[in-house]
Symmetry: C2
Subunit: 195 residues, 2 copies
Amino acid sequence: MKPIILASASPRRQALLEHLHIPFTVYPVEIDEHFSSLSPEEDARRLAKEKTGALLCRAPETASTWILGADTIVVLDEEKIGKPASLEEAERILNCLSGKQHHVITGLALYAPGNAGSIITAHTVTVIRFKHLDAGERAWYLSTGEWQGAAGGYRIQERGGFFVESISGSYSNVMGLPIHTFYGMLRSLNYPLFS
Amino acid sequence: MKPIILASASPRRQALLEHLHIPFTVYPVEIDEHFSSLSPEEDARRLAKEKTGALLCRAPETASTWILGADTIVVLDEEKIGKPASLEEAERILNCLSGKQHHVITGLALYAPGNAGSIITAHTVTVIRFKHLDAGERAWYLSTGEWQGAAGGYRIQERGGFFVESISGSYSNVMGLPIHTFYGMLRSLNYPLFS
């Protein structure tokens, strides 16, 4: 199989690609991750595409390789939530998520080499329901430090999973790489998955 | 935190406990895993409880330790499906899952030491929808060998995840250990989770 460049430093995305047995290298790019006035779905696709485009600009030799960009946004009551910048922000977000339903959206951008090269984008939405968290649970969870570097301030595949009553949609999407959507993109661009 | 004995050899359950930062040791027990005439939910709880009970019988010294037993069953059109015993059976199951919805049920049994010791059981149901699989996809998936040792003949967290259109409920349940349910059991038996 052809290696894919992952334009993201997320260890969760790397773990998912490993489980899929897809060869990849990591080449994170820094972009301005501020949200725009677009809808969350469009914003997630835009940021994923900007990451892929930024890599092609900064390292033109990557144009001969497959590239995957991704961006994950948490949405609660129409507010877009990224990664908390501080413990205080993580606490505020956790209080907001407690006992409620929120959405997680990951945008993907896949670049295929050949001819002029083409980029396609897609997004996936998952609905998450959190249990009500009492003061002890909140204090304990913040003390684990899992909020750091996580969109929405929790990690579903670690201790944050204790608090997730149910999900509806894709789980891997919440980890940052919706596998089924990614599979459809690979197949539509004729990535040699089965060889 | 107190160590828990996991009465299961499943590497997926071990990985989940690791992510939860719960100390554990593995002590798999072999029991007769044939299904009974009970409902799938009751059967999953029964088998989980039998695993815990078998360990307490065979290794009485474990009575002073927390013990977790688990059993996962796939249900399609009211048929209970365990782990395929052969490539042919895996192929038959994959054909049945293709393009349809099925249920995954994990039963848990948690034993707490102290006094006379107590066992509680619980189960969790997740609904999974598979995409329609064409002949190439089926042949390729069977060639990966992922069906071996997996209830229902696929691994959602590996390449089987390509085919999962959506899930409703708990994801960790499909991996064999429903985290949120487990959390409720730990708290109800006063496991010292936060210390």
